[in-house]
Symmetry: C2
Amino acid sequence: MRILGIDPGSRATGYGILEKEGNRLRHIDNGAIFTRSGDEIPQRLETIHSHLCRIIDQYRPQAMAVEQIFLSKNALSALKLGHARGAAILAGVNVGLAVHEYTAMQVKSAVAGYGRADKRQVQEMVRILMNLPEIAQEDASDALAVAICHAHSCGLNNRLESALARQR
Amino acid sequence: MRILGIDPGSRATGYGILEKEGNRLRHIDNGAIFTRSGDEIPQRLETIHSHLCRIIDQYRPQAMAVEQIFLSKNALSALKLGHARGAAILAGVNVGLAVHEYTAMQVKSAVAGYGRADKRQVQEMVRILMNLPEIAQEDASDALAVAICHAHSCGLNNRLESALARQR
């Protein structure tokens, strides 16, 4: 299964694509979409959305994963993040992708085995798990982290379903 | 010129379409898109976006107007509003519509002639200006208000440009 992880942001939206083959994960691509600082909101959303649509079209993921946001510094930054997140999620929903949300703690637990791991530890674990020569750009790394989280989560769900099926 | 006004919200997104013919405004349609309370964010965004795409396809507006948001009760509600606003704006941007933003004070001034007019006064003025038999649903009324604001604003710009052209 191919998973697209997204770390949306008004200035930079990270994306990461990985392939889950049985219990193994394989890195496919990662990167960040930068919006132009002079652009108004509509243009920024168009940049994020159209770029993600092209990535989805190129890599044909079967699922999309995005971090769930609970808190933000302030209402204005939350509003800006919401715009970007809406544009990113729509790129997936519009082509029928299931969109899964995970909390920051779920992502950190899945990647670093510890829900309170620091940013650098998570980035290093993403690098190791994805077999990258160096740490990815930070938004791209966060996007890969949430994709890894989804891969683990659906792996667990599949094993749970198989175990339950065997019991029946 | 046909203008689509939008009042985005996570639960209800109002829309209003009017036709500006010279200095006259003519009401075309208004309504509200309600998302289902049990739905997750991706489904809500899909509802808002796809419904607006259909409305744009049906009425073919030449411009879109949306209220600019500066403050919100808290970060979480700002995030939710941002999602809905992003989905709504994208419906316009994706078909090449110019999206214009106006502050609440600009909208109130344009509709009621007074930037601190209260909600009920604005609704009643929208009803009168649009020649409606009764006050529209509140989100739809707010959407018509921002469309009226854009109609006035581009009317002013046109007159300014004509005046400047005559001076040359």
